[in-house]
Every structure is written in C-alpha cells, then in structure tokens.
Subunit: 614 residues, 2 copies
C-alpha cells in the first residue's frame, strides 16, 4: 500500500517539505499549488528533486470553482486548466484534484456540472492527465461524496473519477454505504484526515483543526476499510490543515504522519501492517529516573527520604542511585546539567524485545546507550518531550538473571527503611512542548498501546492548560500529558512534572510522611470551605484532610479520589500521593486549578525551597 | 459611572488580579469564585486588601444550577447558598450572580424556578444580600434575558433582579426591546464583553474568545445605551474569558480593559467621557525613525540611497540623520543596540497637543524624552509593541516656527538627490507580540482613532500569520499589524517589519530604483505562470512585472495593486514600493504567502545581505 502526504501538512519551503516527506519514508506527495507558486524551483526542477528523493507527485491540488458555471465562462475556465495541465506535465503529475464549486454564483444543475467536467476531462486526457472530483463539505451545491459520484457517473468520461476525503465525509456524518456503489476504477484518490469533534463552522474546522489519523475523534479505520473494500488501489494520502503542525518542525511532523498511517493500517489489519508486532502487555513502572543537577541533589534526597524511599543500590559505573520502597523504584541521577526532572521512565513489559521492535517499527527514535561491559542491554526510545522510555522486565523474585537491569546495581547496606505505604507509581505527569502535543498522544497510543482519554482544559494562574491522560486497560500504566493551551512568543520555563504514588490510606500514609518531615503543599482554607458547602463529607474526614492538605474529587460512578502534593523542588518537579476509592479512574482535574494557584502562591512568596520541615 | 472588571479576565493570583485592577483605576471587581478558592487569603483578608486598594467587590459569581430542581433538592441547594452567603458577608459583597441552570435534569417550569428563586432571595435578604439572575446563552431552559426577566417578575422578591450580559444576549442575536420593559430597580447588574463573530458552539465561543468592547464585532455601545436608558445605575463591569488575556500580563490587560470602557463611554456620549478630547484629524506620517545597530548602518544607508532618499539634515544632539525625498522622511538612528527596526512613527496631527492629551486620557504610556536645550517638545507614547508614537505638525512650507521638530535638525548640503517618485509612506507593517495583539488593535483604534479592518490569516512557511490593518478614513494613515496565529514555547525572532512607499507608476519607479542599485526580492517564476493563468493581464505588462519582481492583486471593486519588495536587512526590516489603482484599499494579502516564501528561501540560502547590487 503506497503512502502519501500533502505538502500543506508540513511547514517550510517546498524543498524542506519534500525532504521531510522522503525522510519519513513516504512514497508520494500531493503538491499543494501555493507551495509550487511560492517555490523558486521550476516545475521541472521539482520533478527532478522529487525523483531524487524517490517521491511520486501523486496529486496536483486544488483546482477550484470550475464546474456549474454559466456556459460563457466555461472556455475561460478550460484555459485556466490548460495552463495547469502544462505545469503538471512538467511536474510529471498525472492526477488533478478539482474541488466542488464554492462560489455564490455557482449554478445548481448536475447536468451542467457533468457536461463541464466532461469537457475538462477531455482536455485533461489529451495531456495524459486525469481529474479527481471532490465534494467539499462546504461546496455551494455539491457537498456530499455521493452527489459528486452521481455527477461523475453522469459525466461518464474515463479521465474523470472521484476523490474521497475522510474529513469532508465524516465531518458531515454522511453515511458510508454509497462508497460501495462507486466502481473501483472511479475511485481516483483517497485523502485522509482525522479531527477532534468540534461544534463549529465546518470550513474553519477543516482549515485549522484537522489532525493525523488516531489523533482525533473520527473512525478512520472504519472509513478507510470501506474505501479499500470498494476496490480503491491508490495511495493512502494525508491531507491535514493544522495550525500547530504547519509551524512545527517538518521532519518530526512527517514522521508523526507516517506513524499515524502505520497504526491506521494495523487497525485495519492491512497486509502492510503484518511486520509490526502487536504491543506486548505493559504492567506498571519498573522504575523512573530523575535527573538532578548537583546543587539539587540534597533537596531531592531529603524529599525521597521523607516519602519513605531509601537508597538501596548504586549503579556500577554511573553516578546513579536506586532509591526504593518495595516495588517503587526511583533512580536518582546526580550528573544532570538541568534542574530536577523526569529523565526516563521504564515500563514493565511482558516482552521488552518485542516492545522495542514495535517502537522501532513505529519510527520511534532509538537512543544510543552507553553500556558498560557486562551491563544489561536496555534499549530505550525517546518520547516526543525528550524523556527516555525503557522497556524492561523485572522478575518477581528479582533473581539475578542474564541481562536483568537490576544487575547493573550493587546493593547498598541491606534492610532499607520502614514501609510507609507507597504501593506503586500511580501516574507520571509530563509537560509537553507546545508544537508536539498531538505527536505525543499518538506516540503513546501507538508505541505503548495506551488509550488517550478525553482532553481537558485546566485553569492555571498563568493561563489555560490542556491535559490528556493516556493509560492502559488495567490502569497500571498511566501518564498525564500537559501543555499550555496557547504558547507565548518568549521562552517559557519547561513546565511542571510530577510523579504520583498510590497508597491505600492517604490519611495514615500522609501522617506518617509528615512525621518523616514532609511538608505538603499548603491548600487554601477557602478550598475546604467550598468543599464542605458542596459535599456531604464527614466533618472529621474533612478536618483530617485539611490538616494534611488532602484534596478530594469524585466521579459520576461514585468513585473517590483523595490526593496531596509535595512542594516543588527546582521549580519543576514535585510528587503526589493518591488514594483511589471505588474505581475512580481520573486524576483529580477539578482540583488542578487550586493546586496550580497554590504552587504559584508559593513561588511568588519565594519559599519554594521549603519542601521539608527538617 | 462606576467601572468594574471580573477577576477571571486577568492572569495571576487573586492578589495580583486585584492589584492590576486597582492600578488601572477600576472602581470594583466581580470576584470569580475559583479565584477565591485558590487564594491563600481568607475572605476577610480579601475584603481588607480590596479596601486598601479602593476596590469594591461588586459581585460574587457564579452560583450554578440552583433553580428548577426537584423540590426535594431545594433545601440542599439553599444550604449550599447559605455557605456562600457567609463567605460573602466576610467579603463585604452584597450581590450574588445566579446563572440559569444548565443541568440536564433541570425542570422546564417557570413557576417552579420563580418559587425557588423567591426562596433563595428570601434567605439572601436575611444576610443583606441580593441575587442577580442571569440567562446563560446555553442555559438548559432559560437562555434568553427576557425569559429570565419573566421568571424574576413572577418570583417577585425585592432581593431578586436580573443580570444582563452582553455576550449572552448579542451572541444569540436576541432583540433588545424587552430591556425597556425591565424596571430600573430590577436591573441589578450589567456584564460587558465583546467577541468576534464566529460560527461555533456558543459555550466554547464564550469561554475562549470573548474580548473587551471594541475588540470584537458586537455593537456594545448600542447595547449598553439601551441598558442605561432603561435606568441601570450599577457599574459597567467587564467579564471576559479569553485564552490570551488570561495568560498575559495582568497589569497591561487591566489597562487595556479600562481603555475599552473609556472608548465605549465615548461612543455612547456618556457624561463620564466628556473630559476625553476627540481624536484630531491625522494625515499621514511626518516621519519614521529606524533604529539600526552600528554594524548595519552602512547597509541601511545604501538601501535608503537606492530607494532615492538622501541625507538632508543631522540632529543637533543625537546620532540621528534625516533622510528624505520631498515629504517622505526617515530618521536613521545609528545608536541602537538592536537589529534594524522601526523605533518610532510620527503622525501628522492637526492638533498634536490634543492628540497627546487624548492618548494620556486613554492611559497610553507616555514616554519620557531626553530633550536638549532649545529642542522641540515632541511628546511620545509607547504602542503595545514598544514602538514610539509621536504626534507632530510639519507646516507645509516647513518654515522655522517655534517648537517645530525639524528645527532640531541642521541641514546638510542643500539640493539632495533626484526625485525617484516616492510620493509618501503608504503604510507601515509591524509585528506584534503574541499576547498583546488585541490590545494593539484597540490602542490604535482608540488613541489614534483608526478603524480596524477585517482580520486576515496569511500562510507563511513557518505557520499562519494573523494580519489586521488599522487605517484612518482618508487612507492617509495606514498600519498593518501582524502576529503569528499561534506562538511557540521557545523564544522567537522579533518578526518582520516593513515600510511601504507609494508611487504613481511602479514600473517606471522600479526601473529607476534598479538603476540606482536596488535588487528587489526575487519572486518565483511560478508566481507569474499562475498569474498569467488566472488573469487577463497584458503580456507586456506581465513581462515588465516579472522583470522587476512586481506582484499583483485586485479587489472586488476592480481596484488594482502593484507592489514590489526589497530584500531584508538584518533579518527584520525591509521596504515595499506600492502603486494603488482605482481606489484599491488593501495590502496585497493574497501575495503575502509568496513574499514570505521568497523571504524564507533567501534566508535559507544565506544571501540575506545582498539587498543591493553595487
């Protein structure tokens, strides 16, 4: 199955777009006319450049407002088309996209449109060119694909067929049954785009919010399967207009685009996807690695100690200490040049090799590792925000088996501290770079097989934050991805990250941690006044929560969430302690504004360093 | 007339919001409940803080989903309200906003709603509190203000009245006649917000795209006048949810907000606006000042020379040279620490003192000037992007009159170069900071009395650019304001600026400038191929345009625009030469993508320094 991408999906000059598409391994491109017009390369030079890059020019697009015009204007339109046919011949492009007329003076007459398209196809055929007619969702009279097909059928010219575009069809909720009625040899082209469900003018929706398959809310697999069943044999070609993608790095975006087609093909069980191994079962975090600049090491160690983790082992060759409490493992890397942050996450995979193979098959950047002699071969990939992702398998009894990652560590004094009740890492929240949020969601969805939940908007003192969680079926592996809803045009701090530990009884555990010196983030008294007003919580419970800075949320199914935060170290990293009751599956989003306001107040007061009382 | 602002309009902690509102001179605030809940200040402390700042708490908001519930749920809702009444008493707030119920289980029964609101008002009255009931545009059953008024009338309690919100009413296009039917003593509160005309879900529109009066497309003056005529005597209070405003500097935003009310009052001819002098007639640019770092001076001088400007005078005390050609005057300030850019614009005002007075009255930042003995007293204000704006009056015969700005310059050798045909400065295009684009539009609209044209989106290789022109009636003063549609979260270059000169015959003038050494920005051959295909331009004209890099645009009225660009100096500044035919009033936006692609190609090729052939 050939794969294509429209040049409009990507930023940069036409040369940069072509290079990015080729680098990601696309077979062809749709050449978006404004990209040609703005290019210093002649059509012939573009043809050569594409050929050098092994890219076909699958489609020349768009040609507008052609059909359904007053007969007196037909000849002018044909002349306009002839000029483009000449350009296409120099480009070596043989398929032109004609969009349904959007002009207010277009005539609502299928026979007239068919007759004029017939004439166009005749002229095209003389140049060895074919015409793919597409119903725009906002076409003046023709805005459904079955209508465009009726006109094509009526026109009855071998050089005339239809172009189907998933956005134009799925945005209107048009039924898909009529696809089967279109003969395979009239299915000239297929354009794919996903989009989030939005209630807005369809033109604006289309021009600004399209995204790659798997990033939005449309059933692209179902749609594409229908078109393939009908016999379509051309490329799967992405045509996405997205405000963010068109300002982002085109090389990254092209890889993201390609990845979206790979998992679309997998979802359709296409033969082309057979080489991609399915995602192995993932079950929780094997460890996470905090990278901390030397000046923050002491503070981080004191906070880990207050949480009840103890130094258990030292890496044989690196300045990395393993802190743990039972199965909660945190590597502290004290050689980082940056403020404290999550440098790596390691997920427990039932088959680490297969996880890595899948990641590579999905074009995840594989990280070169500095591996000492005899050290475990942990392959890692880079997530879109730069966090390293390891796949590993920590045997239950942690016996020393060949290649086990724990082998790389030398145990420190045995014993360790008391059990303070941290059962597991509940979730990790990572701030994402603004231009690559959709890429990140698709990355975790495809590479790790996690499911994205609904996108939320949280109000912070510095603006709105978009938050989207990705999680596996069992809930044992959860990530929250956060990004400002809008960026500024000045350099911004990297954004907060945090690690949440789950416990069974937050009040008991919180007490214990406080006894160990933990000072939780101070939650405003006003929060508890409001909570008392809007809930039926027992006053004793409320009072205990207030004492410890515990926040509270419920879900529609009656699940409850109690959680507290530590203060922030290094302006970037903090911890959370959570208790989930009754199957609560969220992350306390309702409380995020209060948490962010409290963090801002601490930062304003300049007491950020006081995460510990001792 | 008292003026207020809702805390939700502004970014920061509640303390910061209050300080910003007070600094801008607001009389009161609407306290948005989440701002209270996230605050470390107790209600009593907030009351004190507000009192210190001389701010009233005009409204406590919002209280949700109260009315039209099953009778069994009333008592719980009243208890929830009682808790808030206690908070309000501590705050010293006596008016609570109750929004119409949006819950899916709200009951569609006006009598029930009225009865329950009556009960609420009764409880409120016991605390000296009144209730303002507001129809949200997306209320489940009550979503029109006249409906909310019928319910309030039916409830018939002295402590119950209506809150009118311009967004909820104007977004739905509700007729305004029913406002007159509401007795003055039932008009408890008025919330003002403007918004651009968008076709989208009204809730999303309201939550993300509201703006201050004068920044959107609603007739706020007409609406507000109706409410005042009906006898409303409370504050004009702004309630704006805007993604950009809530991440921007709150002090700036509060000033912007205040400015929006000042011109709203002026538009309504309110008594409070009498002290604001009307905008004097402006007619063109007296001069503009380019600030250039020492290493770019030579290149800038060569480019000015190629354009046909000549050094005419030297400032008596500063390293500033006046370059001119007849009435086109460019000051070259060679002492700037920054890359070349527009540092100041000076507009010809029929009354510079009154222009300054108006600017000050509209809270424009007045710039302190270093004025030498005997130098003209040019008062300047700072535009939102940092450009200085001067008001001056250049007498027609330039005779030396007291305080004339030209007096500060000492003439160089008389004569000057030949007239190359630059008639005037046509427009100046300035890149705006992302967070302050709406502020900039309102600034020029209010302070200079310019009219904003429609906002356009232009496609650049690095993403979409929003462009909005502001111009005076005669077209003698035009500015184009540009901003990326989205920012990145990394530091971005300052953005391009350019100065356009008008001429009567661009082909002749362009030839002449080329003979003087000007190398225009190279426009792709593909542009002319496309232009030939889609227009009926004479081949001779086309060929001449191609030779000189002249671009072409038309408007609906048959006006024509021919223009060419110079190359860019210092990655920031370039010039444009334009010819307007037949009353063309635009800026060649259709050609902006080609221009930006050509500029990117030059930058990529690293030949940006070659603006001149010689």
């Amino acid at each position: 199955m050939r794969r294509g991408i429209a040049t409009v999906c990507l930023s940069g000059t036409l040369e940069e777009k072509l290079a990015a598409a080729a680098h990601a391994g696309f077979d062809g491109v749709e050449l978006f006319e404004p990209d040609l017009i703005g290019s210093r390369l002649s059509p012939r030079e573009i043809r050569l450049r594409a050929a050098e890059l092994d890219l076909a020019i699958d489609l020349y697009q768009p040609f507008r407002d052609f059909e359904g015009v007053q007969p007196g204007r037909l000849e002018g339109n044909l002349r306009r088309a002839e000029a483009k046919f000449e350009v296409m011949q120099e480009l070596g492009a043989t398929l032109m996209l004609v969009c349904s007329n959007v002009s207010s003076d277009a005539i609502d007459d299928d026979a007239l449109a068919a007759e004029q398209l017939h004439a166009l196809a005749g002229r095209a055929a003389e140049h060895g060119i074919r015409i793919a007619y597409e119903a725009l969702a906002w076409g003046r009279h023709v805005n459904e694909y079955d209508h465009s097909w009726r006109i094509v059928r009526q026109a009855d010219h071998p050089a005339l067929g239809v172009c189907l575009d998933s956005f134009h069809i799925l945005s209107r909720g048009t039924g898909l049954d009529a696809i089967d009625e279109i003969p395979a040899d009239k299915l000239f082209f297929l354009q794919l785009a996903d989009a989030p469900h939005l209630v807005m003018d369809v033109l604006q929706w289309s021009r600004h919010y399209r995204c790659f398959p798997g990033q939005g809310g449309f059933d692209l697999a179902g749609f594409t399967s229908r078109v393939l069943s009908a016999g379509y044999a051309g490329p799967l070609s992405l045509e996405v207009f997205n405000d963010v993608f068109r300002q982002a790095d085109p090389t990254r975006m092209a890889v993201d685009a390609k990845r979206s087609l790979l998992i679309l093909e997998e979802a359709m069980q296409a033969p082309s996807a057979r080489r991609l191994p399915p995602p192995p079962d993932l079950h929780g975090y094997a460890f996470l690695e905090l990278a901390v600049e030397p000046t923050s090491v002491g503070q981080t160690q004191r906070l880990l100690n207050a949480m009840g983790l103890t130094p258990a082992a030292q890496h044989r060759t690196k300045p990395v200490t393993l802190w743990r409490q039972r199965d909660v493992r945190v590597l502290l890397n004290a050689a980082a040049p940056t403020p404290p942050g999550v440098a790596a996450i390691a997920v427990e995979s039932s088959d680490p090799a297969r996880s890595s193979e899948r990641a590579e098959g999905l074009l995840a950047p594989v990280l070169a590792r500095q591996r000492g002699p005899g050290e475990a071969d942990l392959s890692a990939i880079a997530a879109p925000d730069g966090t390293s992702v390891f796949f590993c398998r920590t045997d239950v009894d942690e016996r020393v088996s060949a290649g086990h990652w724990l082998e790389d560590f030398e145990a420190l004094a045995p014993g360790g501290g008391p059990f303070t009740g941290l059962d597991r890492i509940d979730h990790i929240a990572l701030a994402q770079p603004f231009d690559y949020f959709d890429e990140a969601v698709l990355f975790y969805r495809s590479v790790l097989g996690l499911e994205p939940l609904e996108s939320l908007e949280l109000s912070a003192p510095s603006g709105l934050v978009r938050s989207r969680a990705v999680t596996n079926q069992s809930g044992s592996l959860r990530l929250a991805l956060n990004v400002p809803l809008l960026a500024h045009d000045t350099a911004q701090p990297a954004g907060l990250q945090h690690v949440a530990f789950e416990c069974a009884d937050i009040l008991a555990v919180g007490e214990q941690l406080r006894a160990r010196g933990l000072v939780p983030l101070a939650i405003p008294e006003n929060y508890y006044e409001d909570l008392a007003a809007r809930s039926d919580l027992d006053p004793g419970l409320l009072s205990a929560m207030r004492e410890l800075g515990v926040l509270y949320d419920t879900d529609h199914a009656g699940g409850e969430f109690l959680h507290l935060y530590t203060q922030t170290i290094g302006d970037r990293l903090f911890f959370e302690l959570v208790e989930r009751r009754g199957g609560y599956g969220g992350y306390g989003a309702a409380n995020a504004p209060v948490r962010m306001a409290a963090q801002r107040a601490v930062a304003e007061a300049g007491v950020g360093a006081g995460a510990l009382s001792g």
